[in-house]
Symmetry: C2
Subunit: 214 residues, 2 copies
Amino acid sequence: MMNDSVSLYTIRRLPLYLEFLKELKAADVEFTSASEIARNLKIYPTQVRKDLTIAGLTGKPRVGHKVDESIILIEEFLGWDHSLNTVVVGAGNLARALLRYHDMNVTGLSIKALTDNDPAKFGTHVKGLKVYSNDDLAKIRDEFDIQVGIIATPASEAQNAADMLIENKITTLWNFTTVRIKVPENVFVEQTCLYCNMAVVTYHHNKRNLIEYK
Amino acid sequence: MMNDSVSLYTIRRLPLYLEFLKELKAADVEFTSASEIARNLKIYPTQVRKDLTIAGLTGKPRVGHKVDESIILIEEFLGWDHSLNTVVVGAGNLARALLRYHDMNVTGLSIKALTDNDPAKFGTHVKGLKVYSNDDLAKIRDEFDIQVGIIATPASEAQNAADMLIENKITTLWNFTTVRIKVPENVFVEQTCLYCNMAVVTYHHNKRNLIEYK
DNA sequence: AAAATATTGATATAAAAATATTGAATTGGA
DNA sequence: TCCAATTCAATATTTTTATATCAATATTTT
């Protein structure tokens, strides 16, 4: 809990453990072990044990970890016991898709509003949320106490979107565009690059299937 | 090109270099250096150089790399000089968002069809693509010569979707659900876990803002 | 009650990735 | 023509991450 720097790898694995724990809870399983989690996710038990320790979980030898307690502890650790008010800049299909992840929208983040630079969209609603002008960011921020900004614009507008968010003191950003936006020291950016993942897919497929494409 | 195992990290960085190179090309810049790329992406020059070498690029001292040639070589390396025919299982908002990534749909992957298990959707069209029944997978595969399957179903149906794809000899999968699907040795799965990325966002925000939430 | 077993959690080792160093190559200018 | 600056590319080092080992402990079985 007070550890200085927790590895990103650990943080990214915790939601996977959480998912499995919730499955177990749904099946009324009371205890599980790091070994069982590891078996399920096909990773090493020691890895799981370390991660769980970092998240503050403790288990009993031969018994393992209490499922429901573990869920609560991991959620607390990740900050999923409450939601951060979030604005999405760019009201296109990606925004729509993100809103669809309704679970995400109750644990961790809570998307409160969308903004766009297309006047035709101003005032329209997407999944019950109003689309504002980018220029209204300051107003939106105050009204909804926005803490996180998601950048879901076309790549060409990503940097501009980031600048506007930062100007409005929204300094935790989640950027879905391919562009590596430039931000001051105090701003945190999580980059989710779908193209980068696609590269892994195409590279591997082509490597396995060394066919000549004309 | 013939190197046995290329790091996933390298593969995931290459699209970022590519993006920057394309920016340069658009600005009619003829040459760039690993150092310049590194500066732009805020990573280390040596890292960039190693990655470029792995992708088969060569540069001249004091001059750097030819922009247009580099673009072609990276695209070839990633297999983005041609497209893999792709089916998306699950015709919801995520599918819609993926189709929106139209660039992705011409370089690397080419989404040819969608399937769903909701009969109400059968025969409808999403962005010009027809939605089929999951049961039609064999037919779709033959008709479009499908090579890649994207899993964009609700989490509960992910394993089933994977099983169906594999049954139909589609063995390169891109799974967008939180679930870690179980597959035989010969099947490749790229996992894109949005929740895992969200965890990084919420963890970091909460760590910085150590406020008590009631 | 003792032995066997499964598990935690701490520590140690191995593997992989990131970063630093170095020398050779190329260019532009003094 | 030589010198300074820049860059590549190979190699070395450091750091980080993943995996293995082991003692302690709780539980079940004999």
